[in-house]
C-alpha cells in the first residue's frame, strides 16, 4: 500500500498521490479501531468467522469423541447438550453467514468497480456488532450457561420452567444482538450493488456473485424479522412473565416453530446462495470461459429467494398439521430443487465446454458438485412428507444438512479462500499443501457424514448424548468419529496453508488466474482506493475485455479518477449511468462506540442489571444522535455557488 506505485497511463502521478493522501489510513492503534475500509472490514469478518468456525468445530470433535463408543463418559449430558446447541448455533449464525458476508464485503466493491461500500461506517458498525455478539454467546460456555436447546430452540423446552438458568436468555439476546449486524450488512449490500456500480455495468453485466449476495441480502431483510419476533417473545416469556409459548395460559408452542422456520428455511438459502455465487465466480478462471447460461442462473437465484419463503412447513411434517397443508408445502419444497438443478447443469456445461485448469480452487468446486448433489437428493427426499416423517430428527437429517452445508457452503468457501487469497493477502498459497488439504477434507467429510444416512435409517435419533450398544449403531458411529478427525486434519492444513501464504508465500501478481471480474484489475492487495481510475464496463467479463481495460488505463478520465477528495461514483440502478460523485466518510470511532454501548446493553439485560441497561440504552441513543448529526458541509457540496 505504498504511494510509489507507478500510475497507469491516463492517471497522473499527482492524481495518484492525492488519492493515496485521501484514502490512506495511517497505521496506528486508533486507525485499527476506526477503519471504515471495506477490505479491512471484510478481512476481519473472514478471520473472526474463521475463529468461531474453529470453536464450533472443536465442539463437534468433542461430541464425536463422546459418540465414538456407546455409553462413553467424555462429557456429561448437560455439557453435551450445550456443545451441540452451540455447535449448530455458531455454525449457522456466527460462521456461515458472517464468513460469506466477509467475502461480500471484501469483493462486492471491487467486483462492481467502486471505492467502498455505500455506507462504510455502517459496515464497520456491523462488524463490531458481529464480533461482540459472537463473543457474548461463546463467553457463556465456560460458565456452563450456554444455550442448550439445539439451534432451533423449540418451545416449551425454551421456557423458564423447563429450562432455568441463563442458557436460553443468552440464545435469545445473542441472536437479537447479532441480527442488528446482519440487517445492517444486508442493507449495505443492496444499496452498494444498486447505486455504486461502475458506469456501464448494467444489471445484465453484474457478476453472479454480486447477484447472489444481493438476493441473499433481500432474503435476510424479509426473513430475519420473524426470528427477531420469536426471540423477543421468548425473552419476554422467560423474563417478564408473558405467555406467548405457554399453552396452559393460552399460548401456542407451534407458534415458535412457524416463526422460526419462516426465518429458518430461507436461512438455508441465505447460507448456500452466496456460496453458489462463489462457485460461479471461481469457475471462469479455471475453465477459461464464462459460466454457461448467465440469465438462467440469475433467474434461478431470484426464484429461489422467493420460493424459499413458501417451504417452511417441511420442517414441521411430524407435528400433525392437516394433510392438505402438507401437500402444499411438499409441492413447494419439491419445486425449489429445480433452480438448483439448473445451476448445477449450467456449471457442468461450463466444464464440458471449457478447458479445466485443475488447481486447488477447482478441486474444491468439483468436491462441491459431488457433495452438494448428494445433499440435494436427500433434500428432495425430505420434501416427500411420508418419507420425511420417517427420517426427520434422525441421523439421516444430520447427514443431509451436513452434505448441504459443508458441500454447498464450506467447499465453495474453501475454493474462494484459495482463489482470492492472492488478492486478499497479496501472497500465493502453496499448491501441494492445498491439494493435501482438499483430499483430506473431502475424504473426511464423506467418511464422517455418509454413515449417518445409514444409522439414521437404522433408527438412531439425533441430539442424543449417548446410546446403548444393542441397537447396533456403534460400529458406524466409530467410523463417523474417525472421519471427523480426518476432516479436522484437513481443515488444519487449510489453516496452515493460509498462515504459510501470509508468512512465506511468494508475492502475488495482480491477476494470477487471469480471472474475468474487476477485482483482478486491481493491485494485490488492492490500494485503499481500489482503482486509480474507476472502470467503464463494457461486458459481463470486464477483466477479459480490452475496452474495459482501456478505461482503467489510457482511457481514464477525470470524472472517473475523482482524486480531489475521498470520492466515488454513484450510478443509476438499472443501467449504471453516472449520476454524481459522492464524498465518502472518513474513518471514525463512532461505530465501535455504538457497538460497545449495545454490548453493555445486552449484557446488562442478560444479567438483569436493568439500571445499567437503561444507561446503556441512553448511550446508544446519544451515539446515534452524534453519528447522524448533520455535519458542516462545504458550500460546493451543498450546491451553493458563487
Amino acid at each position: 500500500m505504498s504511494t510509489t506505485t507507478t500510475p497507469p497511463p491516463g492517471v497522473s502521478a499527482q492524481d495518484l498521490a492525492r488519492l493515496a493522501e485521501h484514502w490512506a489510513e495511517r497505521p496506528s492503534l486508533r486507525g485499527w479501531f476506526s477503519t471504515v475500509d471495506h477490505k479491512r472490514i471484510g478481512r476481519r469478518y473472514l478471520v473472526t468467522a474463521g475463529f468461531f468456525f474453529v470453536l464450533a468445530g472443536l465442539s463437534a470433535l468433542v461430541m464425536r469423541t463422546q459418540l465414538a463408543r456407546p455409553e462413553a463418559g467424555v462429557v456429561s449430558p448437560q455439557e453435551y447438550n450445550q456443545l451441540f446447541s452451540m455447535h449448530g448455533t455458531a455454525m449457522i449464525f456466527l460462521f456461515a453467514t458472517p464468513m460469506l458476508f466477509g467475502f461480500g464485503n471484501f469483493l462486492v466493491p471491487l467486483m462492481i468497480g467502486s471505492r467502498d461500500m455505500a455506507f462504510p461506517r455502517l459496515n464497520a458498525f456491523g462488524y463490531w456488532v458481529f464480533l461482540f455478539a459472537g463473543l457474548f454467546m461463546w463467553a457463556s460456555l465456560p460458565f456452563g450457561a450456554a444455550p442448550n436447546n439445539g439451534w432451533f430452540a423449540y418451545a416449551p423446552l425454551n421456557q423458564e420452567q423447563h429450562n432455568p438458568g441463563l442458557h436460553m436468555d443468552v440464545y435469545a439476546l445473542g441472536l437479537l444482538f447479532l441480527g442488528i449486524s446482519t440487517t445492517a450488512a444486508s442493507i449495505n449490500f443492496i444499496v452498494t450493488a444498486l447505486k455504486l456500480r461502475a458506469p456501464g455495468m448494467s444489471l445484465n453485466r453484474v457478476p453472479l456473485f454480486v447477484w447472489a449476495i444481493v438476493a441473499t441480502a433481500f432474503m435476510v431483510i424479509f426473513a430475519l424479522p420473524a426470528l427477531n419476533a420469536d426471540n423477543l417473545m421468548l425473552f419476554l416469556d422467560r423474563r417478564f412473565g408473558t405467555h406467548f409459548f405457554d399453552p396452559s395460559a393460552g399460548g401456542n408452542v407451534l407458534l415458535w416453530q412457524h416463526l422460526f422456520w419462516i426465518f429458518g428455511h430461507p436461512d438455508v438459502y441465505i447460507i448456500v446462495m452466496p456460496a453458489l455465487g462463489i462457485v460461479s465466480a471461481v469457475l471462469p478462471a479455471f475453465t477459461r470461459r464464462g459460466v454457461v447460461g448467465y440469465p438462467l442462473i440469475v433467474l434461478s437465484i431470484v426464484s429461489i429467494s422467493i420460493i424459499s419463503f413458501g417451504v417452511w412447513v417441511h420442517h414441521m411434517f411430524a407435528t400433525g398439521l392437516p394433510q392438505l397443508s402438507y401437500s402444499f408445502f411438499s409441492a413447494a419444497s419439491t419445486i425449489i430443487t429445480i433452480p438448483s438443478g439448473i445451476q448445477i447443469f449450467a456449471w457442468l456445461a461450463t466444464m464440458l465446454l471449457g478447458r479445466l485448469v485443475l488447481r486447488v480452487p477447482l478441486l474444491f468446486v468439483i468436491g462441491f458438485v459431488v457433495t452438494f448433489v448428494l445433499g440435494g437428493f436427500t433434500g428432495a427426499m425430505f420434501a416427500v412428507t411420508a418419507f420425511d416423517q420417517q427420517v426427520t430428527d434422525s441421523y439421516f437429517v444430520v447427514a443431509h444438512f451436513h452434505y448441504v452445508l459443508i458441500g454447498g457452503a464450506v467447499f465453495p468457501m474453501l475454493a474462494g479462500i484459495y482463489y482470492w487469497l492472492p488478492k486478499i493477502t497479496g501472497r500465493m498459497y502453496h499448491e501441494r499443501l492445498g491439494r493435501w488439504a482438499f483430499w483430506l477434507v473431502f475424504a473426511g467429510m464423506h467418511v464422517t457424514f455418509f454413515p449417518m444416512h445409514l444409522y439414521g435409517l437404522f433408527g438412531m435419533p439425533r441430539r442424543v448424548y449417548t446410546y446403548r450398544s444393542e441397537p447396533g449403531w456403534d460400529g458406524w458411529n466409530l467410523v463417523s468419529t474417525l472421519g471427523s478427525y480426518l476432516l479436522a486434519v484437513g481443515l488444519l492444513l487449510v489453516l496452515v496453508g493460509v498462515v504459510h501464504a501470509v508468512r512465506r508465500g511468494r508475492p502475488a501478481p495482480p491477476d494470477p488466474w487471469e480471472g474475468d471480474s474487476l477485482e483482478w484489475s486491481t493491485a494485490s492487495p488492492p490500494e485503499p482506493y481500489n482503482f486509480p481510475a474507476l472502470p467503464r464496463v463494457h461486458s459481463l467479463h470486464p477483466a477479459w475485455d480490452e475496452r474495459t481495460a482501456e478505461s482503467l488505463g489510457a482511457g481514464a478520465t477525470a470524472d472517473r479518477i475523482l482524486s480531489d477528495g475521498r470520492r466515488t461514483l454513484v450510478t443509476s440502478e438499472l443501467d449504471a449511468h453516472p449520476e454524481r460523485a459522492v464524498q465518502m466518510p472518513e474513518s471514525t470511532l463512532k461505530p465501535l462506540v455504538l457497538a460497545g454501548a449495545l454490548l453493555i446493553f445486552f449484557t446488562s439485560m442478560l444479567l438483569a442489571w436493568y439500571p445499567a441497561a437503561a444507561v446503556a440504552a441512553l448511550a446508544v441513543v446519544a451515539t446515534i444522535a452524534v453519528w447522524l448529526w448533520p455535519p458542516r458541509r462545504p458550500d460546493e457540496e451543498l450546491g451553493v455557488t458563487g
Binding site: 423446552l157 447443469f345 430428527d393
Partner: protein
C-alpha cells in the same frame, strides 16, 4: 442387556422380509428385485431399522425409500458421468468452446428433474394418504403420555398403567393417542410407523400395526432436554389372546408377595418414600409422579432404555438413580442397606 428385541430379532426381521416380499412386488417389481440383495438393508443387523419394516406404515415408507434411492443413484450416475467426461477430455490442450447450450441446461437441469419430481410427488401423496388412513373408531386404543424422560402407557378400560412398553395385538390397527405432560417429544417406532410429535397443550393421534409377533424398539425423536438420549420404549406385538390376557392383568391388582423378603420389601415400599411418587395397584402406593411399578419386574429395561432390568441395576437405580440417568426426576434414596435386598426382591416379583 437381554432385550426382547434380541430374543425376537430373527422373528422381527423375518416378518420384515415377508412384508417386503408381499408389499413391494405389487408396486415396484423391478425395484424389489434390485433392492432385495442390497447391502444397505443387510448392514442394519439387529437395529430397529426403517429398512426392516415390521408393520404396514413402515413397509409403505420403506417402499418409498427404495424408489427415491434408485432415482438418486441413477441421477447421481448421470452427474458423475458428465463430471468424469469433463475431467478426462477437457484438460490439457482442450480447445475452449464458447457456446451457450441453454437447451442442454434446461432439459437436464429443469425438464428431466421436473418429470421425475412430479412422479415422486404423486407417489409421496399416495403414501401420505395411506399413513393418514388410521383405524376406525372401534379399534383398540393406547393412550401414551410423554414425560421427561419416560413414556406413560394406559389403555381405556384398564385401571392400571405401565411405562416404556406398549403391548398391541398382532395384525390389528391400534390407535395411539399422544399427549405430553411437559415439553415436546416425538413418538417413533422405525419398524412400524414414522414419527408423530407430541405437542404441549394438544392431542395427536397415530396408529400402529405389526404384521408378526415380536418386539419393536421405539425412541423419542424430538430433543426434550437432558436425558433425551434415554427415552426409549418397546412395542410388543402379541397374538390377540395373549394381548387380552396381558390387558386383563393390567386391570387387576399387582401380584402378591410370596416370600418374607418380598413381604418386607412391600412394606418398605408402601411406608417409605417410594409410594410418594410411584403406584403399585392393590397396595396403598398411588403416586403419579413416576412410572406405575405394578409390573416393573417384567419390563424390558429400567429408566426407559437406560440400563437392563436386573437385580444389580435395580439396586443401583434405587440407591442413586442420578448416577444412572443424570437429571431424571428421582432423587437419591436414603434406603437402609438391610432394606435394599427386600425392596429389590419385591419389585422384581412384580410381573
Amino acid at each position: 442387556m437381554s432385550l426382547p428385541v434380541e430374543k425376537t430379532a430373527g422373528l422381527t426381521m423375518g416378518a420384515a422380509r415377508d412384508a417386503r416380499r408381499r408389499g413391494l412386488p405389487r408396486r415396484l417389481p423391478v425395484l424389489a428385485t434390485l433392492s432385495g440383495p442390497l447391502l444397505l438393508a443387510g448392514c442394519a443387523g439387529d437395529a430397529p431399522s426403517a429398512l426392516n419394516p415390521g408393520g404396514a406404515g413402515a413397509t409403505r415408507v420403506a417402499g418409498l425409500w427404495w424408489l427415491l434411492f434408485w432415482i438418486s443413484v441413477a441421477v447421481f450416475a448421470e452427474v458423475m458421468a458428465v463430471l468424469a467426461w469433463a475431467l478426462v477430455f477437457r484438460r490439457g490442450n482442450a480447445r475452449v468452446r464458447h457456446g451457450q447450450p441453454l437447451r442442454f441446461v434446461t432439459i437436464a437441469g429443469a425438464g428431466l428433474p421436473f418429470v421425475i419430481l412430479v412422479v415422486v410427488y404423486g407417489v409421496g401423496l399416495r403414501d401420505l394418504a395411506a399413513l393418514g388412513d388410521g383405524p376406525g373408531p372401534d379399534a383398540p386404543t393406547v393412550e401414551v403420555t410423554g414425560h421427561k424422560w419416560w413414556w406413560e402407557v394406559r389403555y381405556p378400560g384398564a385401571s392400571g398403567a405401565t411405562a416404556n412398553e406398549i403391548h398391541i395385538p398382532v395384525g390389528e390397527r391400534v390407535k395411539v393417542r399422544l399427549r405430553t405432560d411437559d415439553v415436546l417429544h416425538s413418538f417413533w417406532v422405525p419398524q412400524l410407523m414414522p414419527k408423530t410429535d407430541l405437542i404441549a397443550g394438544e392431542t395427536r393421534e397415530t396408529w400402529l400395526r405389526a404384521e408378526r409377533p415380536g418386539s419393536y424398539r421405539g425412541q423419542c425423536a424430538e430433543y426434550c432436554g437432558t436425558q433425551h438420549a434415554h427415552m426409549a420404549f418397546l412395542v410388543v406385538a402379541q397374538p390377540r389372546t395373549d394381548f387380552d390376557a396381558w390387558l386383563a392383568r393390567l386391570d387387576a391388582p399387582a401380584r402378591e408377595p410370596r416370600t418374607d423378603a418380598e413381604r418386607r420389601g412391600r412394606q418398605a415400599f408402601v411406608q417409605g418414600t417410594c409410594a410418594a411418587c410411584h403406584a403399585v395397584r392393590g397396595t396403598g402406593a398411588a403416586g403419579r409422579v413416576g412410572p406405575d411399578l405394578s409390573n416393573v419386574g417384567s419390563r424390558w429395561s429400567l429408566g426407559a432404555g437406560a440400563v437392563p432390568n436386573d437385580a444389580g441395576h435395580l439396586g443401583g437405580w434405587i440407591a442413586n438413580a442420578q448416577t444412572v440417568k443424570p437429571g431424571n426426576a428421582m432423587p437419591p434414596q436414603p434406603v437402609d442397606a438391610a432394606e435394599l435386598p427386600d425392596l429389590i426382591a419385591y419389585l422384581r416379583s412384580l410381573e
